[in-house]
């Protein structure tokens, strides 16, 4: 279209300069000139024959009496005979009436004249542009809308041919100040802007269907917008300022969107739904879409939409949308739940190594030697929290690779080795471990009391995980239990003061269930017990400390001291089975670091659920300490296994009558409970005798 306009700007003035046009135009002018002269001339002649002349006034025409070709002065007029004066006046009034009639027809003549010129101009323009338009039509046979558009263009050019005949810019005449160049450009631009074609999406270089990712899926970035130009103090727009949205660019192909950004981005989600639901893209401003603005703006014809939209995001968001947005399941019918971890097999390990290699090239990093690659893969397993899995979080290990690369640069190494990767891992942890270091420091200073040696009745080292940003670390906590005569209640002090979460409370109630199941079949549980996380000032949740709480309780009941050199983690069920927990590596490392501060004794270690063994991906110093016998990790499947490890006393198995062998922990517990029951019965009897209540 630009070429067409350029050609027309030469061809049309040339056509209107031709003798043929000039002659026809002159003929029209002559025709109308003759017509007006004939009418006015006849009137003028008739007037002159009656000694009346036609005068041009500043505003129009007037008729005046004359004598000898000169207008009669009033004095002379008054000297005329009355009859002559009246006759003259009568004649003037008569001609005046004719003149009025003629003047009323003048607008009609002018319109006829304009129309005649327009017809001529249209014909001349049509002749000049016909071959150019034909050439375009041949080029764009399909789609039919283009042919319609070209017809409209041709019609518009014929109707507005003056635009092409006017000089490119107003001449810098002396009659006016020179027009500034930007305004000239604006004027020039405005004349032919309507013939431009605004290609909002160009897929001419595209092979296959377009695949578009929009990293900021808001209303406007999806459906496009009409830009605006400041012109002479006002904001104006036209179709040339229409900008495609991601939906236009992906039309006929695929649009990939970050679901989280989509739903949190400004009005992106409703706009996407509306477009998908209607099957068309409607470019409109948000104000228009929400009916907030009353200003008139462009309303481009909607564009049919044929697209596949892929939303990528966390599974929780999928569940939320599915549950709360009634349109979601209609519009998005295929769900794909991607695993964020992969099995750690020789094949996947090899693939991982290849991926690392590819990333070094893509990110323009130094080469990583095999040790470095192995360490990254190990870290990937650590991030997965499972020795048998690898994290699929590419972003995390790319960050690690960049940092490792920087360590290599700092060390003038051509190849990144395991030392650099380890330095990067350590640095990543160190940068965020301020709170962790502070807690360990306070353990060392005994401000936070954690016993890592010796024995205590009713006290055990539990382990919890604290997550701060990307960093998670283990924190040992002292859990204590007290038992006394009562009515079978286990009091969770955390819950009483509303610091315990529901899962923690559930864990404590399971303890009651365990006690009742194991020891309450043949006797009343006439005890009250209280459990607490000592020096805990924040909320406690999760059931991973339920095993530790049970051990503290049983220790208190059996009056059997627990080795403080151990910490333990695990949840327990009512049958005394130990169940897996999360964050096992961080917990072990947390107690390991506490032991390092208080001093290794060679007897320290952590008891974990056996089902968590496969998740062990411990720090190298922990592994080394274990290998050297300075630190130990024990798996347990049952409460009894844990009890034996913690107390060094056999737990004991019940005989056919449900009695435990003497000298075992369970026997001691049962005996203690019997004693409580007997004492409770005695007190009840005494109270009954005196009429009181026990």
């Amino acid at each position: 279209m630009k070429r067409l306009v350029d050609e027309l700007r030469a061809a049309l003035p040339a056509a209107f300069e031709r003798d043929e046009y000039r002659a026809r135009r002159e003929a029209i002018e002559q025709q109308f000139k003759q017509k007006s002269e004939a009418v006015f001339g006849a009137l003028q002649r008739r007037a002159e024959s009656k000694n009346i002349t036609l005068l041009r006034t500043p505003m129009g025409l007037a008729l005046a009496p004359t004598r000898d070709g000169k207008v009669l002065a009033p004095e002379l007029f008054n000297q005329l005979a009355v009859a002559e004066r009246e006759s003259l006046q009568h004649e003037i009034e008569a001609i005046q009436g004719e003149l009025e009639t003629i003047m009323r027809e003048v607008p009609l003549w002018e319109r006829e004249h304009r129309e005649a010129v327009q017809v001529l101009n249209r014909e001349t323009a049509g002749f000049a542009i016909a071959h150019l338009m034909e050439e375009l039509r041949r080029q764009y046979i399909e789609p039919p809308e283009v042919a319609q558009y070209l017809d409209a263009v041709e019609h518009d050019i014929k109707e507005n041919v003056d635009d092409f005949l006017a000089p490119a810019a107003p001449a810098a005449s002396e009659t006016s100040a020179p027009v500034p160049a930007p305004i000239l450009r604006d004027i020039e631009d405005a004349r032919f802007r309507r013939y431009q074609v605004n290609v909002i999406v160009d897929n001419s270089e595209q092979h296959g269907a377009p695949v578009i990712y929009d990293d900021n899926p808001t209303h406007q970035s999806l459906v496009g917008r009409a830009g605006q130009l400041a012109r002479f103090g006002a904001l104006v727009t036209d179709f040339n300022l229409l900008v495609a949205g991601a939906l236009h660019r992906a039309n006929g192909g695929y649009l990939v969107l970050d679901a989280q950004k989509l739903v949190t981005g400004y009005y992106g989600w409703p706009s996407l739904k509306r477009a998908l639901d209607a099957g068309q893209i409607r470019i409109e401003s948000l104000e228009q879409a929400l009916s907030l603005a009353s200003t008139v703006s462009l309303t481009p014809e909607p564009i049919p939409l044929d697209i596949k939209v892929v939303l990528v995001g966390p599974a929780t968001l999928y569940y939320l949308l599915s549950a709360n947005d009634e349109d979601f399941d209609d519009l998005f019918k295929i769900a794909a739940d991607f695993e964020d971890r992969v099995e750690r097999t020789p094949e996947t390990t090899l693939l991982y190594a290849r991926l690392i290699c590819a990333m070094t090239r893509r990110e323009k990093l130094r080469a990583f030697d095999r040790g470095a690659v192995a360490r990254i893969i190990e870290q990937a397993a650590r991030l997965a929290g499972d020795a048998d899995k690898l994290s699929a979080s590419v972003r995390a290990f790319i960050d690690l690779m960049h940092e490792s690369d920087q360590f290599a640069i700092d060390s003038d190494k051509e190849v990144v080795g395991v030392a650099e990767v380890q330095a990067a891992i350590d640095a990543q942890f160190r940068r965020g471990d301020r709170i962790y270091r502070r807690l360990q420091e306070e353990i060392g200073r005994k401000t936070i009391r954690i016993e890592t040696d010796g024995e205590e009745i009713g006290q055990v080292n539990g382990l919890s995980v604290i997550s701060l940003g990307n960093l998670a670390f283990g924190q040992p906590s002292r859990i204590t239990a007290q038992v006394r005569l009562g009515r079978g209640e286990v009091v969770d002090i955390e819950r009483e003061v509303e610091l315990g979460g529901p899962l923690h409370s559930k864990g404590v109630l399971i303890l009651s269930g365990f006690l009742g199941g194991r020891f309450g079949k043949n006797r009343p549980l006439s005890l009250n017990a209280s459990l607490v996380f000592e020096q805990s000032y924040g909320g406690v949740d999760g059931d991973s400390a339920s095993a530790a709480e049970l051990f503290a309780l049983l220790s208190a009941l059996a009056e059997a001291p627990i080795k403080q050199s151990f910490a333990l983690t695990g949840s327990v069920d009512q049958r005394g089975q130990i169940q897996a927990i999360g964050g096992v590596n961080e917990k072990i490392e947390g107690f390991f670091d506490s032991c390092r501060i208080t001093g290794f004794t060679g007897r320290q270690g952590v008891i974990i659920p056996a089902s968590n063994v496969r998740h062990l991906m411990l720090r190298r110093d922990v592994v080394a300490a274990a290998a050297e016998g300075r630190f130990a990790i024990f798996p347990m499947d049952t409460v009894d296994q844990g009890l034996e490890l913690l107390t060094g006393i056999p737990a004991g198995q019940p005989d056919a009558g449900g009695e435990y062998p003497a000298g075992t922990l369970n026997h001691r517990i049962a005996a203690r409970l019997d004693a409580f029951a007997a004492r409770a019965a005695e007190l009840a009897r005494t109270a009954s005798a005196v009429g009181g209540r026990p």
Binding site: R56, T57, A73, P74, F77, I92, Q96, M103, V106, E110
Partner: protein, 269 residues
């Protein structure tokens, strides 16, 4: 006119297309380094008419309305002020000194003070009615009385084309005509075509005579033999894209020329 132009005088009135005359006059004044003088004539005939009891004015936009003296005077004052502004603006644009006066009378009385060294530039057209019809130009009577050159301006100065002079003899009036035409051609940067009878063109030393007369002017000169038929001359003028036709006052009736051609007409006595 022989020698330099002393003033460029522009007669103006309420009926004419003054702007064309003003612009042409200012340009010629600038080229001749002469002052520009505007004379606005308050048409006495109109004032007389207004005093008649049956005087009416008919305009395109309204019904016939009574024409009173106050009405006419008001509009004449407005027209004079507009003419004054346009004149001074043109003078300023072209860097010439300018004066302006208002006289009341008929057109021939307006230019009585003009000398043979003044170049008078008057608009040849009244403002049209119905796009095409124009009442007669008011300056005819002045032309007859003018001692110096008189230019009837009809086209905008920016119009292209050549200056054509009809030379009939080599008397002093012809010399004045040649000089005036040359000045205008020079000012307009237009070629000057001298059309003369074969007898003159073929006369001995005619070219030297021409060269001597045009020695002070930088013009592109062309000499042609005048056709005998008026229609052929008219066609030739069209071919030459004649923007200004310079003629002597004593030849063909002026009105014929003005009616026959659409270009500017320069008349030199």
């Amino acid at each position: 006119m022989s020698g330099p132009i002393e003033r460029v005088v522009v007669p103006l009135d309420a009926a004419g297309e003054n702007l064309t005359a003003i612009d042409t006059a200012a340009r010629l004044a600038a080229h001749a380094k002469a002052p520009l003088h505007g004379i606005f004539v308050e048409d006495e005939d109109l004032l007389h008419l207004a005093r008649l009891p049956f005087a009416r004015q008919i305009t395109l936009g309204a019904r016939a309305e009574q024409l009173t003296t106050e009405h006419v005077e008001l509009h004449l004052r407005i027209a004079a002020e507009r003419a004054r502004r346009e004149l001074f603006a043109a003078a300023e644009r072209h860097g010439v000194t300018c004066s302006f006066e208002i006289v009341q009378g008929v057109s021939e009385s307006a230019l009585t003070g003009a000398s043979e060294r003044d170049l008078v530039v008057a608009c040849a057209l009244t403002r049209p009615i119905a796009g095409h019809f124009r009442v007669e130009c008011r300056w005819w009577s002045s032309i007859e009385a003018m001692p110096g050159p008189f230019l009837l301006a009809r086209q905008a100065w920016s119009a292209s084309g050549s200056v054509v002079m009809l030379l009939r003899d080599r008397d002093p009036a012809a010399v004045r005509l040649l000089e005036a035409a040359a000045q205008i051609a020079e000012a307009a940067d237009a070629p000057l075509t001298v059309i003369c009878p074969a007898a003159i063109a073929g006369a001995e030393r005619f070219e030297h005579w021409l060269a001597d007369r045009l020695a002070g002017h930088q013009v592109r000169l062309q000499v042609e033999i005048a056709p005998t038929e008026p229609a052929v001359l008219r066609e030739r003028l069209r071919e030459l894209d004649c923007r200004l036709l310079a003629i002597g006052a004593g030849g063909d009736p002026l009105r014929d020329f003005v009616e026959r051609y659409t270009c500017d007409i320069l008349i030199v006595r």
